[in-house]
Amino acid sequence: MSPCCCYAIWVRLYRRTFAKLGVLAGAGALVLPGCTGSPPARSDAAQLSPAERVMFERFAEVYIPTEGTNLKPLSEVPYLDNIDRVLVFLDAPTLDEVHTGLKLFDYGSVVIGLHFTRFSNLHAEDRLDYIRKWDDGGETQRAIVGLIKKLVAIGYWQDVEAARRVGYQGPVSDEAKILSLGNAPMPVVVAIANESP
């Protein structure tokens, strides 16, 4: 895709985003976006497009650079599939907003920093710089980059072995064969003398 085409897409998306700021900002919830009243359209189909998967890969590489650390290598954690499973729980309108936000972020580098190419094509240092610009940007930018960071963190850290590498014990009751206490016995009834209305 040419830089001009990218720019046109980004401007269109950015205008659309600001037109419904409150709605898209909803895509920045802590765990996941949304404040829905309708049930999620649960489906086994992939939620992330191939381009979005690449964008998340490029993002994760600089957000959680595991090479040379004690962390479990990103390449050994199915974080993209984990993100996909998380998105399954969104309703269709919210998922649309997430896709819009991801496009806005990916194509925004054409304009922001004048890179003239998508975020996914940037070198690592430029990607880090770009993420920091969004961290310091306007409300919508902070919402979108916050969402992407959350999704990557959720995708990576829900891997039990990754969490155990940094000292978190993870699930323990089954392994330790801790017995259940079961339901509590019926209580002893104590009447309360109360004269108030």
Binding site: A25, V31, T36, K149, Q158, A163, S173, A184, S196
Partner: protein, 518 residues
């Protein structure tokens, strides 16, 4: 009921749940003395106490029945199976997650088990400002006593307080902030730290293992996966509740319930929506208004030594002046967190600064904070979507600054090397003498802080004046003669402390009022 003889071991009560798959395709028509909508902290208590009186009770729970043996101790999976909207319920701006349980037992299944009595000063202010002079500390004390006994509520013992909790309590005392062991509704805690993913071994005395099995044992019918959708009203009374039971495969069935008494216990988000959908009970125009939620943050600090904060009880100690909201506006609770929560809730940064931060996970001091916020929000439906219109008010921002300041000072007094603020961009305080200048430089704004709420309250305000409140002092709606609201939506102001024990006690008190009325 009398104490069992020491020579006999009574059988434990059994929880029988009627799931959507158990309902015939043609649906169900049921009749009862009372229908309780919601099976969480208040619904569970009311279901048991009314059943104990001999009433025929039906409980409707929109969420699924998940047995504790099915809990996985994996937080993301728990969000997806046990929480409202899969853990995605958020404010309209999208920068504050509102976590609520949505399963048999409601939020009691997934909370951190922390219990406080409502501060006397808060109850007294409700009397002075909202005409609730029936809810005096003297009136409520026996109800707090009752639920504390039934739910095994007790202060954490020394074995339930890990190094993280001890250091935070000691640090608080060094800087002059009251601190002590947190109380929890736990029996023989196994110290796994997985409260918010559901207690797999039934140590937490949630509704799932206490009041609901007790109600069930006394004959209450409990339906899971069955969401109350609308009401039929005649002569100022709800005569029928219409609900939809939805199977896992998506097929749904109509459940119609006629009951003399309708008890609403769906929580501060769902309860107002129920009445808004049916457009009833709202002569005051206040249904859904006055939402508040104890905005919370995670506060993280790096210590010199290995702390292993995630090992042990989920919440161990607390700090803050919680006796009087005029004196203190915040509460700090030392608690465990997994790396995902630490990452998503704190400003650990990106790239190498982040990996350096998270690799020191064993050295991290971790706590959760909350503030006593104003009732500035509103819950409503918009184009078929639930909306929680709530942003951190400028009047509450100083309280947020104050709790971040207090926690930072506690951490440095406890030996921390640096403190990470819960900002969306990385903000680190490197020494105690930087605390004031960094905190003072913070500004309020959307998506600047990583906020979460565990305690939605206030959308069905209780009060004496029908023009200024939705529900009367006895829990009965001003506009609907046979309808009681008993959940945290009643609270005219926030409590400053975790609300679950007050919800239990209030539900017990209001159940007595219902029974006294006959």
């Amino acid at each position: 009921m009398t104490e069992p003889s020491p020579n006999t071991v009574p059988a434990l009560p059994v929880l029988s749940i009627r799931q959507p798959e158990d309902i015939p395709a043609r649906g169900l028509k049921l009749e009862a003395d009372a229908v309780v909508i919601g099976s969480g902290a208040s619904g569970g208590v009311a279901a048991y106490e009314l059943s104990l009186s001999g009433a025929k009770v039906i409980v409707l729970e929109a969420g699924p029945y998940v047995k504790s043996e099915q809990f996985t101790e994996r937080l993301v999976e728990s969000f997806q199976t046990l929480y409202e909207d899969g853990g995605n319920q958020a404010n309209k701006s999208g920068d504050l997650v509102v976590l609520q349980g949505a399963c048999i037992g409601g939020s009691t299944v997934v909370n951190a088990a922390v219990c406080f009595r409502a501060p006397d000063k808060v109850l007294e202010s409700w009397g002075e400002n909202h005409g609730l002079d029936n809810l005096t500390p003297e009136t409520m004390t026996p109800y707090f006593d009752r639920v504390e006994k039934n739910l095994h509520i007790h202060p954490n013992g020394p074995h339930e307080i890990n190094l993280n909790g001890r250091l935070i309590a000691e640090g608080a005392k060094k800087v002059g902030i009251p601190a002590g062991p947190a109380s929890r509704n736990i029996k023989h805690c196994a110290l796994t730290g997985h409260c918010i993913a559901g207690c797999k071994t039934d140590r937490k005395q949630s509704m799932l293992v206490t009041y609901l099995p007790w109600a069930s044992e006394l004959g209450a019918t409990i339906l899971s996966g069955t969401r109350a959708e609308s009401f039929e009203v005649r002569n100022g009374r709800i005569t029928q509740v219409n609900a939809i039971a939805t199977e896992a495969n998506g097929s749904s069935k109509l459940v119609e319930i006629k009951a003399g008494l309708v008890i609403i216990a769906a929580g501060a988000v769902q309860t107002p929506l129920l009445f808004q959908k049916s457009a009833i009970g709202n002569s005051s125009g206040l249904i859904g208004h006055n939402f508040a939620c104890h905005p919370s943050t995670a506060m993280i600090a790096e210590h010199r030594d290995d702390i292993y904060a995630s090992l042990g009880s989920t919440i161990t100690t607390y700090a803050g002046n919680i006796e009087d909201p005029k004196e203190g506006s915040y509460l700090i609770e030392a608690g465990s967190m997994d790396p995902m929560s630490i990452t998503t809730a704190s400003g650990g940064g990106i790239g190498l600064e982040y990996t350096d931060f998270i690799q020191e996970n064993k050295k991290l001091l971790t706590s959760v904070t909350l503030i006593h916020d104003h009732n500035v929000g509103r819950v409503y439906m918009e184009n078929g979507r639930k909306r929680i219109d709530y942003d951190l008010d400028d009047r509450d921002f100083p309280s947020l600054q104050e709790v971040l300041r207090a926690t930072s000072k506690i951490y440095f007094a406890a030996g921390a090397k640096r403190v990470f603020l819960p900002t969306t961009r990385r903000t680190v305080i490197e020494s105690a003498d930087q605390v004031d200048s960094v905190i003072n430089s913070l500004e309020n704004g959307k998506h600047r802080y990583k906020l979460v709420s565990y305690h939605p309250q206030g959308t069905m305000r209780m009060g004496k004046d029908p023009k200024k409140s939705v529900v009367g002092p006895d829990g009965r709606m001003h506009d609907l003669d046979n309808v009681y609201v008993i959940d945290a939506s009643l609270f005219p102001t926030t409590l400053l402390v975790n609300p679950q024990e007050t919800v239990y006690a209030m539900a017990s008190y209001l159940s007595d009022r219902m029974l006294a009325r006959g």
